[in-house]
Symmetry: C2
Subunit: 121 residues, 2 copies
DNA sequence: TTATTATATGCAAAAAGATAGATATGCAAT
DNA sequence: ATTGCATATCTATCTTTTTGCATATAATAA
């Protein structure tokens, strides 16, 4: 390990060392989500979410993929994925509240809409 | 996981997300070291080292212990220790260069002095 | 085309963090 | 006590990050 190594690692760690970004990553490590979904989930203004996503994207931690009008983001860094397992604990598949999809009534993306309808009923 | 959890975790991560602190922790996770040793190792002024150590100490990551004139620091947080194993990789016992003791001729603490003598010979 | 929805970008103000220097404390040997 | 060494603290300054807001772009719908 030399200075450059520590700098590289700490730069990557810095990206995770933020409550909202950590939360975003906790959602994305389960499954890809669109911006509107994260917006509803975190309760923060859209530009704010986009800004955090840009940071994560530029750090190579996540990747975006356009689907229709929506942009879905997914985790794309194996190293960070491993870190998250240790920091946040392994993903609990039985934890349906994990990405809180059932509580999201504000998100109308194609992925969320069916749930929204379900809840409205 | 709620907002407070993410804030707590990210605050702890933030402490690691710094090249010099990460390096200090990489040294301390192997064995306790005194300030003068870290000073020689990092090649930074003593007040700077003390400042970073204070940050780590106040975050509960390390603990100090006075031995004669020197203050030795050791890792005291099991969670962080586990994180470091993943981020920096497990400690390689055969890696004698790990804490670079053999290269430290500037440190004269009781722990280093014998080695210094050895090198001078 | 025009309107609408989803997301991105740019910019300025505010907050936080880093760096450096000077000084203080505290132990230990003389 | 006094000198010397190791470490800590304080203060000021400089830089970076964070945040909030206004606006731009791009795709779709009417």
């Amino acid at each position: 390990m030399n200075t450059a190594d520590y700098e590289l690692l700490s730069a990557k760690l810095k990206v995770l060392a933020h409550p909202e970004r950590l939360r975003i990553l906790d959602v994305l490590r389960r499954e890809p989500e669109c911006v509107c979904h994260l917006e509803a989930l975190l309760g923060k203004p859209q530009p704010y979410i986009s800004q955090q996503l840009r940071l994560l994207r530029e750090a190579g931690v996540i990747t975006d993929e356009k689907q229709g009008q929506n942009v879905f983001y997914h985790l794309s860094d194996a190293e960070v994925s491993a870190w998250l397992d240790v920091v946040l604990g392994p993903i609990d598949q039985s934890d349906f509240g994990a990405n809180q999809r059932e509580f999201i009534v504000a998100c109308t993306c194609p992925k969320c809409a069916p749930t929204t309808v379900l809840l409205a009923a």
